[in-house]
Symmetry: C2
Subunit: 451 residues, 2 copies
């Protein structure tokens, strides 16, 4: 087993080259939203880097942006899946960037570039961890790199790829795309993600907008949609769709013990977010449970009629809404979509069209799995006691790995900070966080390989 001091000194010695590598990866404008040609050069570059350590590099695709897969055989009997993505978000608004998004800049201990935090630091740190261990001795586990090319556009073919290549992706554990530190600087870890159903609704009752003097005679798409939306939930997020809560798990005692250790930071949130009181006004020790274990029906956007300044007296022909439902294990977006349709029909809202629907299943993994224990121990050594979350309040495409392939999965600590500005102008990371991510990977792999 390679000593942590050997790892740390190798990382220290090679730190400026490591940073240069990451900056080189960040020069590729791999915006998946711009299509295949946009992502290919970054993918080829990453494939070349992986090929330095293994001849088992391939692309996997199922109609979307291809993913990269690379297997690096290790000494131990365990296999570890590593999930990252090489694609990035668009850069606009460009005028709010202080430097060019694909001309990485190092300044005051930070790196600035589109994708440097989300998720190229993970891609590169894991390759640098591989180099570090290989240079110092043996790779302790068989590593299975899976570097997705369309995470930022919804991982639409990940499900298909995971099923088609189950044999290659299956492993004894998975390190997901990393998280990082909370606003108080505490390292945080997650063992799952909430699911999502995103729907766009439309009601159209007239051929074109009418003078509102006719509102006493012609039906109102706006009133129809508003009544439909009001039938779905109340202001306390009690969702009235028949059967909505049927398959949902509740927090267990073990969950509650984990949740009790998470600081709800109510006053910090109040200061930042400006709410008068939290929804349902929970006692402080129930805030995080409510955040995670309350599935939502959120009105993300509603549009009808006149949108400009001042007044216009118009009876709108059409009304639209965008809704997102955050789902808890074991709710299924396909099932919730069917229940939404049934609810609308049942309550006389059959003229509400569901014009699009996209989903992601929720995923939960065992916080006491071997990969979980190895990661917690590694984080503890490097950063101190981590804050453990049963799952994220957000969503990620973990389900195929966690549930379909049955791989215990952990979101470890990476470069994440509240001021990373991911998806926004001036995306950045701390250089020290990057080097610590390399160190953490080496520690976790060694521990997991020894098991």
């Amino acid at each position: 087993m390679i000593s942590t001091s050997a790892v740390d000194s190798y990382v220290e010695k090679n730190s400026s080259r490591f940073v240069d590598d990451l900056m080189e990866l960040c020069t590729f404008p791999s915006i998946s939203n711009h299509g295949l040609d946009a992502v290919k050069p970054a993918r080829d570059w990453v494939a070349g880097r992986l090929a330095r350590f293994t001849d088992r590099v391939e692309t996997m695709e199922a109609g979307g942006m291809p993913a990269l897969y690379a297997e690096v055989p290790g000494a131990g009997k365990r296999k570890l899946l590593l999930y990252e993505h090489y694609d990035v978000q668009p850069v606009d608004p460009l005028d709010l960037w202080d430097s060019q998004p694909f001309e990485p800049v190092q300044k005051d201990g930070k790196l600035y570039a589109r994708g440097v935090a989300d998720d190229k630091a993970d891609v590169m740190a894991r390759i640098h961890a591989l180099e570090t261990l290989k240079s110092l001795g043996e790779i302790p586990v068989t590593l299975r790199f899976f570097v997705e090319g369309e995470e930022e556009i919804g991982s639409k073919s990940f499900d298909k790829i995971a099923h088609a290549h189950a044999g290659k992706l299956r492993a004894d554990g998975c390190l997901w795309e990393s998280g990082g530190f909370d606003s108080a600087g505490r390292p945080t870890m997650f063992f799952g993600a909430r699911g999502l159903l995103y729907v766009q609704l439309r009601v159209r009752l007239l051929a074109f907008d009418q003078h509102s003097g006719f509102a006493s005679l012609y039906p109102s798409a706006a009133a129809y949609l508003i009544a439909a939306l009001a039938s779905l939930r109340d202001e306390d997020m009690n969702i009235r769709i028949e059967g909505f809560y049927d398959d949902m798990v509740k927090a267990t005692d073990a969950d509650r013990r984990m949740l009790a250790k998470i600081d709800p930071e109510v006053e910090e949130r109040r200061k930042l977010v400006g709410f008068e009181k939290l929804m349902r006004d929970p006692p402080p020790d129930r805030v995080i449970e409510q955040l995670l274990f309350t599935p939502t029906c959120n009105f993300a956007g509603v549009t009808t009629g006149y949108q400009g300044p001042g007044s216009k007296t118009v009876l709108p022909a059409e009304a639209t809404a965008k809704l997102d439902f955050r789902l808890i294990p074991n709710q299924d977006p396909t099932d919730i979509l069917a229940k939404l349709r049934r609810h609308l029909d049942l309550h006389g809202f059959d003229k509400v069209e569901i014009v699009s629907a996209d989903g992601e299943k929720p995923a939960r993994s065992d916080p006491e799995s071997a990969i979980a224990k190895a990661t917690i121990a590694g984080v503890k050594e490097l950063h101190g006691e981590p804050v453990l979350w049963p799952f994220m309040h957000a969503t990620g495409p973990m389900h195929p790995v966690v549930s379909d392939l049955g791989v215990p999965t952990v979101m470890p600590v990476g470069v994440g900070r509240p001021d990373n500005r991911i998806h926004a102008p001036n995306e950045n990371i701390r250089v020290s966080d990057y080097l610590n991510t390399v160190r953490l990977m080496c520690r976790v792999w060694e521990r997991f390989g020894a098991g």
Copy 2:
């Protein structure tokens, strides 16, 4: 009494000069929305034309765009108020005009210009009628021209002007801005207008938009506003604001006799407007009664959250709505506004702010008044039997004249046609309709003066 044949031959002889005058008036870009400097040249030009017939021309103002007033003494004992407006709507979108909006064009029997239909044809036709009668003999009634300068921006100071100059504006009858012909070419007349309350609502519960993963914790402005809106009315326009219907008149038997003669044109409307069925699915003989006598709470605009294409998972910090209420005699917009506020507070929606409110009282006049009878007889002679509406489904600032000054008021037949495109690009009138408006005014004034 001047014969109608003398009138018609004078109009015929002078028709091309009459049209030139109207076109000259239409060269002035008197957009009241652009302020005082924009409207002044048109006002001065009209004042000059009126000054050819009387030395009693003055401006009247109360903080907004000044109105023109001119009294022309007549032979009979009766006084007739003539309401028009010299201001016009803005012209955008300019690229949809086939000619310049303030460079009038005559083509295929039509005139094209901003304001030619609404309402410069009325302004000019009444001056031409005055010229016609004066040239042929005596003016039969004392004419009191009132030419407003801010009708297109809500007639905000008309109420004050009417009260300050009650002695000058009071008369035995009033000819309002003209209407015209329905889609079947039938002449139509109105004896009033519905009132209006326009309000803008806002709910703001957070400092800025949040990731929708927090929708289980932070309150939703969108859900709050939607619940508030849903509490105001149902899809059949049953309004649930406490006391909303208290002061409303119902259709009388006399109203119903008048309404029964109006063709509801259900199939024509269906073809044009594209509804599946009318709201409340009324029998054909109740369609027009429902149109006029159902006060409304219309959702003219609702906006919250993400408005772009595709999806965004956001918990909106703010939600806004624009509502217009069409009011029936004797509902009062000030009273309805107070009832709206009380309803919101009573039902737990105290965080809905009413950020602006504007109102216009409804107005009804007697359809058997002397000016009504004189106008009906004139229309009958020139165009055939008119369709009589107790009041318009739309709104106009008639209330100060009809109710406060007690002047019986009629909306006569003018250049109005369904294809006039008022407020829109390529606003136009038929030249023949213009000349008939001059003829009609002469006929009505003669009849009214003889009474």
